[in-house]
């Protein structure tokens, strides 16, 4: 297992988990989201190639009202 942070909450996940699998595991599978890891944008087209690393800080965002 590795330690990561998901939206500033500590989490554990299996080594070498793909981002695409992690998103399904966390309940984001069917939701319109965008992802950044360690403050870098991660394009949707790369979710199936990106393996999570120990210490990764993952931000997942959804649309909200804004000014």
């Amino acid at each position: 297992m590795i330690n990561i942070s998901l939206n500033n909450e500590p989490k554990k996940i299996a080594c070498d988990t793909l981002l695409s699998d992690a998103l399904i595991q966390w309940g984001f599978g069917e939701i319109k989201i965008a992802v950044a890891i360690n403050s870098e944008f991660v394009p949707r087209s790369t979710y199936t190639d990106r393996r999570l690393q120990d210490g990764d800080q993952i931000d997942i965002v959804k649309p909200v009202g804004g000014g």
Binding site: N7, N8, W26, G27, F28, I31, K32, I33, A34, V35, A36, S39, E40, F41, P43, R44, D59, I60, V61, K62, P63, V64, G65, G66, G67
Partner: protein, 269 residues
């Protein structure tokens, strides 16, 4: 012979797209998603702003807002609200482009937490990076002329100077700077963004020659947001018409409007 007003029906163009409405409305702070939807309708806005935030996947409370925004058919203008560095703003803009499928971005780089004043240096740097990445940047900026010129230098085709700090409702705090901006930058669309609290303030900005108004709090926090949205829409239209019509010059002394010749009860002494 009947009189025909000469106000152009459609002359508000941003990044090559022409709009009928000069009112851009924010979608936050409403008491309910329904009030937001009704306010968008009454505002006659064709562009709405929105944002991105971390959310729990099981929290679907924001879904209605997003559904209503999509149904409105308005062009989406996502923001980078809350970003305090160039890096944060660029990353959030990239996330916005993917999720909303638009290159338009209302660029905010906050320089101070107290008044949410835009960081001019970060704003120019982030604008340059994003424009090179293909974004159409609408920067939320201060009313500083040199900042605005630098933003144009790096490729911004729209400027959005503040009227007052976000959410204050104080109106046009620095008329000298705003008039100077309009005088010195004549051919670039400029939208007064933030700080307006009353429709009369929007009218004043439009009378000064600004091209549009972007606001959120003044509508969302009104007792009747849809009615206030309509009031702002009418006020913006009135200000634009007045700008086209041409305001009279102010005078120091009174001047009678009714003819003085033929004044009754007047007798030469």
């Amino acid at each position: 012979m009947s009189y025909t007003p000469t106000l152009p029906a459609k002359d508000f163009t941003l990044y090559g797209e022409t709009f009928s409405s000069r009112f851009l409305l924010g979608t936050a702070l409403y008491a309910s998603p329904q009030l937001m939807r009704d306010s968008i309708v009454q505002s006659r806005a064709e562009i709405v702003t929105l944002g991105l935030r971390r959310q729990n996947p099981n929290d679907r409370s924001g879904d209605a807002i997003w559904d209503f925004i999509k149904e409105s058919g308005c062009r989406l203008l996502p923001n980078t609200a809350g970003c305090k560095s160039v890096k944060e703003a660029v990353t959030l803009a990239e996330m916005s482009r993917e999720i909303f499928d638009t290159e338009w971005i209302k660029l905010e780089v906050v320089g101070d937490d107290y008044n949410l004043q835009p960081d001019p240096f970060g704003l120019v740097e982030a604008s340059e990076i994003l424009i090179k990445k293909g974004f159409k940047v609408l920067p939320y900026c201060t009313d500083d002329l040199i900042l605005c010129k630098r933003l144009l230098d790096v490729g911004c085709q729209v400027l959005m100077p503040w009227g007052a700090p976000i959410g204050t409702g104080q109106g046009l705090l620095n008329r000298y700077n705003l008039r100077t901006l309009r005088e010195r930058i004549k051919d670039v669309p400029m939208i007064i963004d933030a700080g307006l609290g009353a429709p009369s303030q929007a009218t004043e900005a439009m009378e000064m020659g600004f091209d549009g108004i972007l606001l959120n709090t003044a509508v969302a926090k009104a007792h009747n947001p849809p009615l206030m949205a309509e009031a702002f829409a009418d006020a913006i239209d009135a200000g634009r018409k007045a700008y086209y019509a041409g305001l009279m010059q102010k005078r120091q002394t009174a001047s009678p409007s009714t003819p003085t010749i033929g004044q009754p009860f007047w007798h030469q002494q």
